[in-house]
């Protein structure tokens, strides 16, 4: 029995390492995955702050609404992004987000801010003559 338990532990350990290596190899952000898993299972172990805060943002030529948000360092956040007209972009380097927002669906991105400061989110999918001014502010405290 002890031997079987030992074998099981070893197998689980090896599987965990292989899984981690695979995720790293394909470039997945483990932090985001962990948060996604935690948000899916309401376990007693998960602290309330680990549940992502949901923030809805609407994109429409040539504005984001709201145009300013405040986030808390270490607190995961899920952006629910919607476009009301054409394909827009949603790009911010300090949060490592660069995604399109196609109209007609909700695009979800979950991240955990790790660096405080005031940053700019821009539309980086060209959407017309006012595209260059389409931006919003994010404050991470």
């Amino acid at each position: 029995m002890i031997r079987i338990n030992g074998l099981l532990i070893t197998l689980v350990f090896v599987a965990a390492i292989l899984c981690y290596g695979t995720l790293r190899a394909i470039g997945l952000d483990c932090c985001r995955l962990v948060h996604a898993i935690e948000s899916s299972y309401d376990t007693d172990m998960a602290l309330a702050d680990d549940n992502p805060t949901v923030i809805k943002i609407t994109a429409e030529k040539f504005d984001f609404t709201p145009d300013r948000i405040v986030l808390k360092k270490g607190q995961p956040v899920t952006f629910q992004l919607t476009s009301l007209d054409v394909v827009h972009g949603f790009m911010i380097r300090p949060l490592d987000i660069d995604t399109d927002i196609p109209p007609g669906k909700i695009t979800e991105v979950t991240v955990t801010p790790e660096v405080t400061g005031t940053y700019r989110i821009i539309c980086d999918h060209y959407c017309g003559l006012g595209h260059g001014g389409m931006k919003m502010t994010v404050v991470i405290q």
């Binding site: 380097r93 980086d124 060209y126 003559l129 006012g130 260059g132």
Partner: protein, 340 residues
Amino acid sequence: MKNPVNRRSFLKIAGTSIGIGALYQFGPLLGRAGATQISDFFRKANGEAPTTFRFVQLSDTHVGFQGPPDPLGTAAFEAAVAMVNRLPERPDLVLFTGDLTHDADNANVHAQRMKQFQSIANRINTPMMKFVPGENDAALDGGTLFRSFFGDTYYSFDHRGVHFIALDNVSRGRPEVGTDQIEWLKKDLARFPTTAPIIVFTHRPLFDLKPDWEWFTSDGPTVMNVLAPYENVTVLYGHIHRENFRNDGHARHYAARSLIFAFPDPDKVAEKKPAPFDKTHPFKNLGIRLAASQGGDASAAPLGVEDVELTVREFSGTSGIQQFMKGGKSSGQGNTNDSD
């Protein structure tokens, strides 16, 4: 560090201290170890003997833009054309690095602007012109209008021992080149020895210059990685409406000035706003870069570079300036105060 063109070499190239666009001189194979290998390669590839030559880069003409912050319309572009035509030696080649037109909501208006751009560009006395699109030209229609005038949005060609590569980082809507083009690039490069001189020209910077001003290409690092084995790579681009030089330790990246409103130094201002128009200095920060290969060992030496601002001397005889001097009010679409 930039490699300034010394006075002697500058005069040798330009004949006089004028500047409009970027004038480059290349002597790719002279006196270089391994030159024979490259020389043989290009002779076999296309029959061209590698020799020194000169070319010009013009960028961001934004034909169709008129109004604040630049009421002069095509004045700088037309002055640039006149300047190129006055060069003491006709350039082999003129490269345009995007935003040939200013975008328009109406497709017919946009097509008219492309036609007007082509009409002005065709006045240049040069045997060869090459173009890449900017986002104003090609981001909304995937490059359809651009291709109807100028052909493919990405391609390559050889000229006198230099391999030129035009990259399109705008027509997918996003600031990216895309996997198809990167695969094409790998195949395109495969036939060249790593010592071949390569000039890439494109619209946006291929590195993170100022991402939150959209001065980047998301897969630019992948492109540069594909180019990494090559020893002599220069990247020429536009988009940022100001000169910029970056040596990433492997390739040298040069942004050309625009021929319409300039942008300020992003390290000195918080907001991305064009520099205001200065009546007393109408071509302030507009102009181009002159550059020259240094010495006989040209393929090994970095390109010599000199940025030159347009002067009022060139500022005459165009419809834009005539209107301006008469005090006429500007018209047309100038509604974007931050478009690049």
